[in-house]
């Protein structure tokens, strides 16, 4: 039950944030954000019920895609309602909590030499760039871009 409460709190904060960020009224965005919260809850519940090592993100993605894909009868309703909720404001509360929970890592971080930080940055750039270059090549070959 703990996760239900956590999701309620995060969703509520995101709900307020979304309204400030987009200027869309609270009542107008309420159905959309409730749908998103229920999808998240369903995903986490499935992860807890099904004894397979499948991460929550997979369940949530499957549910969301099934609800919204054009072949689905719910596509239009879900698309319109969830469209009132922007992507960014849903990440803002999470990163605010992340800031607080980083406190401990910060102590570790200060111990890391500049070489370590530089190298970790190289690893991130390298991974990003490697993925982007391969994607670009394949998408070009496919004629999508």
């Amino acid at each position: 039950m703990e996760y239900v409460l956590i999701l309620l709190i995060v969703t509520f904060i995101a709900f307020i944030g979304n309204s400030i960020y987009t200027g869309i009224g609270l009542m107008e965005s309420l159905p959309g954000i409730i749908i998103l919260m229920l999808i998240a809850m369903a995903g986490i519940t499935l992860e807890k019920l099904i004894p397979l090592p499948i991460p929550t993100i997979i369940y949530i993605t499957v549910i969301g895609v099934l609800l919204a894909m054009p072949y689905s009868p719910t596509s239009e309703v879900v698309g319109t309602l969830v469209g009132k909720v922007e992507m960014l404001p849903l990440a803002t509360p999470v990163l605010a909590y992340a800031g607080v929970s980083m406190g401990k890592d910060w102590v570790e971080f200060k111990k890391i030499s500049w070489r370590g930080i530089l190298l970790a940055a190289c690893v991130m750039i390298g991974t990003f760039l490697g993925s982007a270059v391969v994607s670009h090549i394949i998408l070009s070959i496919q004629g999508i871009i």
Binding site: M1, L5, I6, L7, I9, V10, F12, I16, N18, Y21, I35, L36, A40, T56, I57, I58, T61, G64, V65, L67, P70, S75, M87, L88, P89, L90, A91, T92, P93, V94, L95, A96, G99, V100, S101, M102, G103, K104, W106, E108, F109, R115, L119, A120, C122, V123, M124, I125, G126, T127, F128, L129, G130, S131, V133, V134, S135, Q142, I144, I145
Partner: protein, 268 residues
């Protein structure tokens, strides 16, 4: 029941977070134009910095060790609401996602490219076995767990993976956003290709790196977030397999070849 009480008992923490979020959203996106593009600062960045300041500077006494632990849970579970929104975008753009299937799958191999770049740099910087832990992958939780299991976290490899992990956790979100917008501005890489690259790390990294792309190319918004999300799902699904089967063996192999050439000789 006890754990529920622990959350409600800390209502002040959640109130502080709410205020942080309200301030951050109010400031909104700040764009600093550079050349033909711009570097973007997003509300999520202010929120994170404000959260960290709350913990470190303690302007309000209520945020300390206990709140830090609770916040960790909120991060892990809270991101799922964001993932739900992204999955809706993926559903709406499912035809584009299927059409781009080959690119989405093959770019997973591109993630390994970092080993060829970062490992030589690591050796030039004077790292030894730490280098393997640091550069074999982007070091998210599953990779840390795997390295811990194989070498233990007290080993050089374990210390290495923790460095990339900690740096990634702390500056990864901000940094990946900067990388995405810089590459979009200064390189001919297509926004769709960059979108797929946004999925290489954690969920928050994906959020922070795809967001500026969505802002820069609003007409492609839905497809960008669909590609970023699908790529993230694929990385989550195959990431650890890639590490076990290819990433780590490849990194160890290259280390054996490169260390005698680039590695610093023992001083003792």
């Amino acid at each position: 029941m006890e754990r529920i009480q622990e959350i409600t008992k800390n209502w002040k923490l959640h109130l502080v977070i709410l205020i942080i979020v309200m301030i951050s959203e109010k400031i909104n996106i700040v764009k600093i134009p550079i050349g033909s593009g711009s570097i973007m600062f997003l509300p999520m960045l202010y929120a994170m910095v404000l959260g960290l300041i709350m913990y470190l500077a303690k302007p309000v006494k209520i945020i300390g060790k206990a709140q830090e632990a609770i916040s960790g849970k909120f991060v892990v579970l809270g991101i799922s609401v964001f993932i739900a929104k992204v999955s809706i975008n993926s559903g709406l753009a499912v035809q584009e996602v299927i059409a781009a299937g080959p690119a989405l799958i093959l770019q997973e191999l591109g993630n390994l490219g970092t080993i060829f770049v970062a490992l030589p740099i690591a050796l030039l910087l004077g790292f030894k076995r730490e280098a393997v832990g640091m550069t074999h992958s982007i070091a998210r939780e599953p990779n840390v767990a795997y390295i811990a299991q194989k070498y233990t976290l007290d080993s050089p490899e374990g210390r290495g993976v923790m460095i990339t992990y900690v740096v990634g956790t702390l500056i990864g979100t901000i940094f990946m956003g900067l990388v995405a917008s810089t590459l979009a501005t200064f390189t001919p890489l297509h926004p769709y290709a960059l979108a797929m690259a946004c999925g290489v790390g954690s969920g928050s990294m994906m959020a922070a790196s795809s967001a500026p792309l969505v802002e820069m190319f609003p007409e492609m918004a839905e497809t960008i977030s669909a590609y970023a999300a699908t790529s993230n799902v694929l990385s989550t699904a195959d990431g650890i397999l890639m590490t076990v089967l290819i990433g780590l063996p490849l990194c160890n192999f290259l280390y054996k070849i490169l260390y005698p050439i680039l590695g610093r000789k023992e001083k003792k």
